[in-house]
């Protein structure tokens, strides 16, 4: 493996090398007594354990020789040995530091600070082609890129679909929302009619596109079981004209439905038929029945 020297410009210039080699001054000028500081600096930065461990060893030896030597007699052999050991330790630490410095500059030149790294967005992962679904699950899972743009770009919006079991009806059907066309009291004594719904705003609302098409499921008009006519009942799924006529006849006979359950019982709806339309049914309680001929007061038997 060969290392090619970096270019002589930019951070790898002479002054850049000189500045990053300043840590060599610590082992050189301190006779090895402060070598640990420089070695630990480069060793910890470059995550080289051998560098800072050797620096600590050089510092310990140099400090022992430096501080113990003067305590001994000057003409003794141990004093001379300590001075020689101090000089050897100092020279070895300097040579070692110079060798380390080459690797240190190489490592330093290869480093790119995190604040200078270009911020490139991560590529969008390409989904793996999914296995073929069983036939009965084909319509349940949305196609790839249905909600978000796939690798081939944004997909067109899904076509408008009505809920299963519900015939597609445009929102704001004039036959239902027009005042006066669906509010005649079907039985005498019914309460005041509910104000008609506000016509749809010409400005497309959230989730609504131009042309009356919505991105979400359409909000089906609700029917008051005590006010709707037979024709409106017949628009509900599972209710034909004959059943609608029987519902209206039962409502008149009973003076109105007291709950949606009464309506269900009168219509003879099966549970699964009721589930399909229960979100579209409301029930306004009928007014209390007053018998005109009954005298007001309390009858007391004496």
């Amino acid at each position: 493996m060969t290392w090619t020297p970096p270019e002589r410009s930019g951070p790898r210039s002479f002054w850049w090398r000189l500045g990053h080699s300043a840590w060599l001054l610590l082992p050189i000028l301190s006779f090895g007594c402060l070598s640990a500081a420089g070695f630990c600096y480069v060793g910890i930065r470059a995550r080289r354990e051998a560098w800072w461990v050797s620096g600590i060893i050089y510092t310990l030896l140099a400090n022992v020789c430096f501080f113990v030597g003067p305590e001994l007699p000057e003409d003794s052999v141990w004093s001379t040995l300590l001075v020689v050991a101090l000089l050897c330790t100092w020279m070895v630490s300097v040579v070692h530091a110079v060798i380390i410095n080459a690797a240190w500059l190489r490592w330093r030149a290869a480093q790119h600070p995190w604040y200078l790294q270009p911020q490139t967005p991560a590529p969008w992962p390409v989904p793996a082609p999914s296995a073929q679904l069983p036939p009965h699950l084909q319509g349940l899972a949305p196609p790839p890129g249905h909600f978000y743009g796939g690798p081939g770009g944004p997909q067109p919006a899904a076509p408008y679909r009505s809920a299963p079991g519900f015939p597609p009806q445009p929102y704001g059907d004039p036959a239902i929302t027009t005042p006066g066309s669906w509010l005649p009291p079907p039985y005498p004594g019914s309460p005041a009619p509910v104000p008609p719904p506000v016509p749809p705003d010409p400005v497309p609302a959230f989730g609504e596109q131009a042309g009356g098409r919505t991105l979400f499921e359409p909000i089906a008009a609700t029917l008051d079981v005590n006010r709707a006519e037979a024709g409106e009942f017949a628009t509900l799924p599972g209710i034909d004209a004959d059943r609608a006529a029987r519902i209206v006849a039962a409502r008149i006979a009973h003076g109105g439905f007291h709950s949606v359950a009464d309506f269900t019982a009168a219509a003879g709806l099966a549970p699964h038929e009721f589930v399909a339309i229960r979100d579209r049914l409301t029930c306004t309680p009928p007014p209390p029945q007053h018998v005109q001929d009954q005298p007001f007061g309390r009858i007391v038997d004496v």
Binding site: L140, A270, P271, H272, E273, V275, R278
Partner: protein, 72 residues
Amino acid sequence: MTEKPRIVVTVNPDGTVSAETLDILGDDCLDYIAVLEDLIGGKVRDSAFTADHTRQRTFGTQQQVNRDVDPA
């Protein structure tokens, strides 16, 4: 006390599937119709309420009567 709600699904030899909810009282059983349709992948052709639809929840309440006291 009511027991744990259950749904018994039976696949008939002719391919039709019948399901019955057990110990699901009131209209709570209606919520499982859509679940079963999604699981089976078909539409319900016929349905009827079971006796659990009108069965009331029973609670284990006990009433202690002190018979030593004369009500008069």
